[in-house]
Amino acid sequence: MFQIHVSTSINGDDTEFSCEADETLLDVLRDRLGLTGSKEGCGTGDCGACSVIVDGRLVCSCLMLGAEAEGREIETIEGMAEGQKLHPLQQKFLDHAALQCGICTPGLLIAAKSLLERNDNPTEEEVRYWIAGNLCRCTGYDKIVRAIMDTAKDMRKQAKPTKAAARKKVKA
């Protein structure tokens, strides 16, 4: 098998790698690029531990070939914090003790991020259905759902003043 050369962007960094045609993006991330934050819980798209965002779309990296990454923009857990500054979801997961063993945490954080990017005011039911593909065996999801809802609440709070500011501008 000859390897395929792929140029892509991972967490904003231009990245090149070579991989076998049948290698999944998850294998590439973990075994070729050392990005082991994405986890393999099943390898069949049933657990969500390998969740990444590709061109703004939440996917399981175990269900995508590495070769498909050519020219795409990929976001993984390693890129979620900005330097020392945690993403609000990461902070809320800590504040709410929304993790126990932590193996599902990267996938859940990525999934939650992609939800809040689309909907900053989800109902509890919307949160639960959105993350239904992310299995967690430790927490019973209770604290995870609370952490996501609480993050959305803060995001809305922070969003409001900027809207108000914008309105002021228009008046002036």
Binding site: A21, D22, L63, M64, L65, E68, I131, G133
Partner: protein
């Protein structure tokens, strides 16, 4: 194994025709990659169709829609026109797997995978959708209910690929719905699936209907008897009862890890009734 990502349909067809050994189309890949991992599929060639613009687009097709074979369920859900016209079909596509799977899975792939339990297929059949198939000899249009011949088997010939799903214009006073039963609330394969599309006249009498059952036979069924139970009625309780019995009678399921024969037979009737009520309300412009 070789990976190809053609930029247009012509090249894709050429690759299909020229390829040696086992050649698989990669659309969403949510079935193919699982089968590859478990060793059930060992492709020599993979042709990724997601780089083909028209196959990644939902286009107006006359008064209907042409849904490219690489369009994901999530993209269908985000298409206002399609969601408004065919809510049942879009909801069915929206039931395939998790949010993550939604971002990749396609209804054409769901159809080509030829599982009797595919969620989007009964909805497509109820909507009267056709598959646009392109091959060396040009294109042909095949009604969705005629695509699968057995579990895992389709009428596609060597060198042929499914380019799009054609969903017809929806007649006035029509409504569609799809319901499936699963043990959990998400993430399961349908134990039974029912797709229904019905049309009413001005007086509210049902003039046309299509009823389709999934996971109760080797292939998805189009149940004309069930449709006839609705046609000519106002879809009242008696009609719903007849529909329910017709669906249970048409069901010819197996016992497996997902459900028993008698359970599936019973559920087919229950879901048909519930789906018909949703379709009826949509036809009446409610919901």
């Amino acid at each position: 194994m070789q990976y190809h990502a053609p930029a247009n349909v012509k090249d894709a067809v050429k690759l299909m025709a020229g390829s040696k050994g086992a050649t698989h189309i990669l659309a969403g890949g949510t079935d193919l990659l699982v089968r590859m991992r478990s060793g059930f599929a060992e492709p020599d060639n993979i042709i990724d169709i997601k780089r083909i613009k028209e196959m990644k687009t939902i286009a107006k097709d006359g008064k209907g829609f042409k849904i490219g074979a690489a369009v994901s369920a999530a993209e269908m859900n985000e298409h206002a026109g399609l969601s408004k016209t065919w809510p049942g079909l879009v909801e069915a596509a929206g039931l395939i797997g998790s949010t993550q799977v939604q971002g990749r899975a396609t209804i054409a792939g769901n159809l080509c995978n030829a599982s009797p339990a595919a969620d989007s297929v009964p909805a497509m059949v109820a909507a009267g959708a056709k598959a646009l198939i392109r091959g060396p000899k040009g294109i042909r249009k095949v009604p969705v209910e005629k695509i699968c011949t057995a579990p895992g088997k389709t009428v596609l010939k060597k060198g042929e690929l499914m380019e799009a799903i054609l969903v017809p214009a929806k007649p006035a006073r029509s409504g569609d719905a799809y319901l499936r039963f699963i043990p959990r609330t998400e993430m399961d394969i349908a134990v039974v699936g029912v797709g229904i599309c019905l049309t009413l006249d001005a007086k509210g009498v049902c003039t046309a209907a299509r009823v389709s059952l999934g996971a109760v036979a080797p292939t998805v069924l189009l149940v004309n008897k069930a449709a006839r139970a609705l046609i000519g009625t106002t879809v009242d309780d008696a009609a719903l009862h007849a529909l329910s019995s017709a669906c249970s009678a048409a069901a010819n399921p197996i016992d497996d890890k997902r459900g028993t024969k008698e359970f599936r037979t019973h559920i087919a009737g229950v879901l048909a009734r519930r789906a018909a009520v949703i379709a009826l309300n949509r036809a009446k412009g409610k919901s």
